[in-house]
Structure formats: C-alpha cells, structure tokens
Amino acid sequence: MTGNMHLGVEEPIRECQYNQICTHNSSSMDTPHTKKKIKRKWQVFPGRNKFYCNGRIMMAKQTGVFYLTMVLILVTSGLFFAFDCPFLASNLTPAIPAIGGVLFVFVMGMLLRASFSDPGVLPRATPEEAADIERQIDATNGPSGPGYRPPPRTREVLINGQTVKLKYCFTCKIFRPPRASHCSLCDNCVERFDHHCPWVGNCVGRRNYRFFYLFILSLSFLTIFIFSFVITHVILRSNRTGFLSALKDSPASVLEVVVCFFSIWSIVGLSGFHTYLMSSNQTTNEDIKGSWSSKRGKGNYNPYSYGNFITNCCAALCGPLPPSLIDRRGFVQPDTPQPVAQTNGTGACPSNQVQSHMAATNPLLHSQPVILGGGAALQAKTSLGGPCSTLGPSQPSLPSSIPGLSCGGELMALRDSEIHCHHHHQHFISPEETPSPPAALPCATHLGHHVHPAQLFDPASQDSLHEDSVRGLVKLSSV
C-alpha cells in the first residue's frame, strides 16, 4: 500500500476525475466535473440504430414503415370509435367500444414496447477480448501466411446432444452465442434473433419477442373485432335505411373494412405462424433454414425445445426478461475499453470512439456480401403462381408451416411489396417443399431495398458465414 500513495499526491487538482474513474460500477452516479464533455454510451454506439429520449428509446435506422403502422392502426381505430361505436353502443351494447378500447390500448402498448426496446443486442468485443479470441483462433488453426485467407472461423459445441456451430462475427469480433445472428440492417448481433421487422421498426430478438408476439396477436383480435363490428353496423343500418344510404351515412366504414380485410389475412397468418414457432421454440431464422427439420437428418431435433408446447409458450411469454446488455444511458468511461499499453486515461476516450467508428464502418465490407447474388438467383427462379394451401397454423405438429405461409405471403406480395418484410423476405423460399417458390418480384426489389445503402461494392465476400439472416436465402435459392 505504501508504494501506491504517490499517485494521489501527484495530481491533487484532478481529484474529481480520479474519483470518478476508480469507483466500481457507478458510471451513471457521478456527474462529470471536468470541462471535457462526457458522453453517454448510446452516443458512441457502433451499430446503426437511432436513439431517442436520451438513450431510453432504441430503434432501427429506417423507421418510415413503423410510422405507417402507427398511422394505419390509429386511423382505423379512430374511425371505428368515432363513426361506428356511437351507433353500436346505442343499438347493441356499450361493451363494444369498451372492449375495443382495451384492445386498442393493449395493441399500442405492445407495439411501442416492441419498437422501442433493445431486442437483445450483444455489445461488441473490446479490443483486448478481440485480440484474445484471435490468439485462440490462431492457436487452433495454426499460423497463416500474409496472403493466405484463413478458413472460416467456427466453433462446435454440443447442446443437448445436438452439434451446433458457433460462428465468428467479423463485425462484432465475437463468437456468436447459439441462436444469435447479425442483423445487417442494424449492424448488430442480436441474441435469439428472430427477424428484422420494418413494421415495428426494430429487430425482433430475445428481449422483445414476447411484445412482438402479443402485438400481432392482439392486433389480429383488434382487426377481426373492428371488421366484424363494422360489418354489423352497416348491416343494421341498411336494414333500416337501405344499403347505399347506410354507406353514405357512414363512409368511414368502407375504408375500415378495406383496411381490415387485407390486414386480417396477413396479421392472422403471421400470428398463427409465430404461435407455431413459439410452441416449438424456434426462431424465424431457424425455421427458414430448416435447422431443426427432420428432413435434414434422422437425429435432427431442436435442442432448445423444452419438450411440450405449453412449457415452450410459457417460457417465451412469461419467462424472465433479461436486462439490456448495452447500457445505453451509462456514461462512457475514459479508461474502460482501451488497449493494454494505455497510460493516459483521458486519451483513451477519443481513440475508443475512433475504434468504434472504424468498427462501424468496417462492416460495410463484411455485411451482405452475397445479397445481390441471392437476389439475382431469386429473380431467375421466381414465378408468381404457386400452390396456395390453406393457412393451417393451428396444427403445430407440422414440421414447417411454410406452405401455408407462402400462400399468405403470396397474397401479401400481391397487396404490397413491403408487407412480406414481416417474414424478412425469406419465407417465400420454403426449403424443400415448394419446388417453385412463389416469391414475386417485389421480393427481389425488397432485397434491393435492403442492399441499397452503399454496400453494393463489396470487393470480396470475406466472410461467407457472416450474414445468417440472409444466408439462408442464398443457400436455399441455390438449391
């Protein structure tokens, strides 16, 4: 202890900063006394997310479709409450607007919760961790020459009797945990990555899957509710005054019926699909790739499933909610993720930012290396026709419900090129079932959409394993 006191004596003026650095986890408790502005972690976050309310709200970069979702729900519900409810309340029962109100509030609550929360983003590795992992990889793979491209970095792990490959993420410099995937749009690795949903304006992952599911489930009920009661309203009115004058008295009803009619197909179908996924404890990603499909091999089964669908559903909906790992509102510590040889504490902060910016720009080379290839392959294979089997989502015993979904998807493709974003444009390629995937051209244009942000000039597909969420698409389109 005697040898350590000199530090305190050397810098008496910088006591305050000294104290701030040496406390344990209290980055948010100390107010910075120094003239240098201390940033919050969300301000230096390397992913492509947008933050609001000083880091409390986190969304994807493109939020246009989310606003569309809000507008559709608000306008349709607003028209319902304004024009149809008075009639229904007085002629049938006031319980109708009451139930509608509760449903509406629940839907909006779940939507906002799904959109604004952290989906389970994994923070990127600190430089030392990255170096440590590199060392371990080199030790396993052996030294490589200067021009030699090392083999893809994977680790195998045995989970519940199934061999699972852990892939290395070049952007985040970590070995991705099982079920995690790197979202190319948000440029983050997300735990238990389901898909990126533009309608919700965020990725759907471990932390917000239940909100997403409850959102689409309650939205299904809301659309069915509004649809049926608007029809009832029009019928009752036309019994009194005739059909055309009923429509004239309540013109909003027509709009509501149209919106609800088209929404019901997609939303109810999606709810059914996710109910199936949840009861078998799979993610959309895994289902698309057929990771646990019995068609892959005899002993292939889902190692994460708890065995029965009740436990799976309970675990997904009522299980413990893990906290966010990225600590958006914490203050950036000047000394935390720094290279080993750093002696000056304050100097580390700008270099850290530079590193994180570099890490943010580097992935432009890594992300989406083969989307164009996949898109082109898709276009070559597309046909608008396709078997349209009935949507049968209530039978979770099906190994994959994709045929049913592709029917719904086809309808959606006809309606709006953006809608099938729900399924992250992969659902149209069912792995082994439909020989000609009913992926329409909108799908390819949608891919084009995703690719557009200046990543088309990728020189080499450095890491062909990198984009899990799109990789399935490429693999399947080449089958």
Binding site: M1, R179, P320, P323
Partner: protein, 142 residues
C-alpha cells in the same frame, strides 16, 4: 480510499494483462461460464478457488434465468399491467444481477485484490466473458 487507490492502480497501470473466461454453451443459451482453469492464471491463483468462483457465478446466473412458478407469476403480472409494473419494481433478473455484483466485489476484496487480480463483472462485458485483470509487476503486501 486506500483500497480504491490500489484498484485504481491496477486499472491505470502501464503493464496489465487480461485473462478471459469465455462462455460455456453446452447447456444451451443460458448464461454459463467455462470452469476450465486458464493456463495464464496457474501461477496466480488456486485452481479450486477459481472453479468455486466461476461455479458460484454460474449458479447465480442460473437462478436469474430459472423458469419456475416465480418467474411465470412475475411474467403474467407484468403482462396484465401492460409491463408498467416494472416502473415500480425491478425484475427478478435485475435483483440477481445486483447480488452478483455484490458477490464479485466481495471476492475482489477478500481474495483477488491481495493476489494482484481484479475480477470484472461480466455484465460490463455484455455477459460474454469473465475477465481477470492482472498486473504483472504488482504485488500488494497486505
């Protein structure tokens, strides 16, 4: 404050290296760290001590993520109140994380700081690693 001086020292020291203990995914996606004793720590700490620390951490994380009556109750209650209940109370997971933070602090004070090591809370590293920071030239006579 003398204690924080020495921990401060460990952090700002010119020569410091870190040993990382990675996640163990053999039981699935639950948070669990490898109990394999890293070679770099062989001269620094007792293997038994290391294993005990990591095992206790694993048990604590397992408790946080446990599916049971309590977590289901909390989940249902939260759903019924549209998750506004978490404005007033912490989730079970957060409570256990606090316990873990306390445990790590205790371990550091009692066992690792005297040996010149610093155990960092995995939550600060996104639950990816447990890292031991050791300062090569420092031996702190207590």
């Amino acid at each position: 404050m003398a204690e924080t001086h020495s921990l401060q020292d460990l952090r700002q020291a010119a020569v410091a290296s870190k040993v990382f203990v990675q996640r163990d995914y053999s039981s699935g996606t639950i948070c669990k760290f490898q109990t394999k004793f890293p070679a770099e720590l062989e001269s620094r700490i007792d293997k038994q001590q290391f294993e005990e620390t990591v095992q206790t951490l694993n048990n604590l994380y397992a408790e946080a993520e446990k599916l049971g009556g309590r977590s289901y109750l909390e989940g249902c209650l939260a759903c019924l109140t549209a998750y506004t209940i978490f404005l007033c109370m912490e989730t079970h997971y957060e409570k256990v994380l606090k316990k873990i933070a306390k445990y790590i602090q205790e371990q550091n004070e009692k066992i690792y700081a005297p040996l010149g090591l610093l155990l960092t809370d995995p939550i600060e590293r996104g639950l990816r690693v447990v890292s031991f920071l050791h300062h090569a030239g420092l031996s702190v006579p207590w």
